[in-house]
Point group: C2
């Protein structure tokens, strides 16, 4: 019998690597992406290319309008997007790029789709090592969500599905993620990380996300195939 998995796909390196891992584990992939009114429209284009590259079974793109709620530098033009902080600061405190309850919302949709597809397997590329320190990337959050999922759904309360939020990257360094992805054939030129790219799609090279990415490629002994400003 075919094993299905819902995979959250942002267009970034981590979710592309997660998708490759789920595929290698034999899952039929149902990729789920969101247009949440983010600054970064390239993300969605990238997510579509990655889904095509990995020949996923289905790819849903859901508009979220998180900009109506605001509260983050990624969804509101009124909040300052930090750049050129010292490296020491990354991950020390939760930055303004934090989007309130973002992964809770993403996983809630994934849960809904998983139940409709009759699978309990959901993949998300969260990571606690080389990240900006978002709370909804941590193992405690993931297990609390998993527990809730069994009480939130018909298939959960009836015991027909066991929900598992797979987080294969959670304890990897960025370099470790890149090495893993390269071994699985991930084409990182299809991925995107910058919070604030130029109009031509080039990455800024300065935001937290670019800096973590560049550091990761360096430590992995590999060259980042995307273009920078």
């Amino acid at each position: 019998m075919v094993k299905k998995a819902v995979v959250l796909l942002s267009g970034g390196m981590d979710s592309a690597t997660t998708l490759a891992i789920a595929k290698r584990e034999g899952f039929e992939i149902y990729a789920l992406s969101f247009d949440y009114g983010q600054r970064n429209f390239f993300e969605i284009k990238k997510a579509k290319r990655i889904a095509k590259f990995f020949e996923v079974k289905n790819h849903l793109l859901i508009p979220l309008r998180l900009n109506k709620i605001g509260g983050s530098a990624l969804t509101s033009r009124e909040i300052f997007l930090p750049k050129e902080r010292g490296f020491g600061e990354i991950g020390k405190e939760i930055p303004s790029t934090y989007v309130p309850a973002r992964n809770t919302i993403f996983l809630s949709y994934a849960l809904a789709w998983a139940e409709v597809l009759r699978t309990g397997d959901i993949f998300i590329g969260v990571n606690i090592i080389d990240t900006s320190g978002y709370p909804d990337c941590r193992p405690g959050f993931i297990s609390a969500f998993e527990r809730m999922a069994h009480l939130a759904t018909k298939a959960g309360v009836e015991g027909k599905l066991k929900f598992k939020i797979h987080t294969p990257l959670i304890n990897l360094s960025k370099a470790g993620i890149i090495k893993k992805g390269l071994s699985l054939g991930v084409d990182y030129s299809l991925t995107h990380s910058c919070y604030d790219p130029l109009p031509d799609g080039k990455a800024c090279g300065k935001c937290d996300s670019c800096r973590l990415r560049l550091k990761g490629f360096k430590e992995a002994g590999s060259k980042d195939p995307i273009l920078y400003e």
Copy 2:
């Protein structure tokens, strides 16, 4: 200091009553409604009227496109909407009107907005007595969500907000809800319950939701002010 609360507002009786209770408790109301591609477009019009009636501070309407995910008679035309079941059956099993992970998605948005508004108070009109038996209306789900909320958010992990999902109707009968609402001045002619109303807005009187409503008004010794087919 003003106390703010996010109140989930569907346009139905239960959420209108919940809003009235939150207002009576002294909260400034931030009403949150969703257009989730449901059959029932009247719900949204009703939600707007109720928000106006109670002079809420803000009313957000978020499009959700749950019809892209499907899996429910309320979001997909392909699933049969049950009618004229015996009363004994209501609540015995989870019906096809169950929308996968609906309250999880609703509460996730409410959580995001609450964090932006810097309040931990969220109201939802779930009920376990006179309902269709949905899992995401039960106390176990609500407390699991509350627990997760503290791990999912910046304000939660930093201990700056204590999230509380208020469920003032959870143990009331439909008649009890109606009596409570009438005592708080709820105008139930502004509310709507039917899963499948006529084009002119009249309720069908036959679906689970209509039947529970009519039974509630009867037991409360009051007359339902809305029009039926």
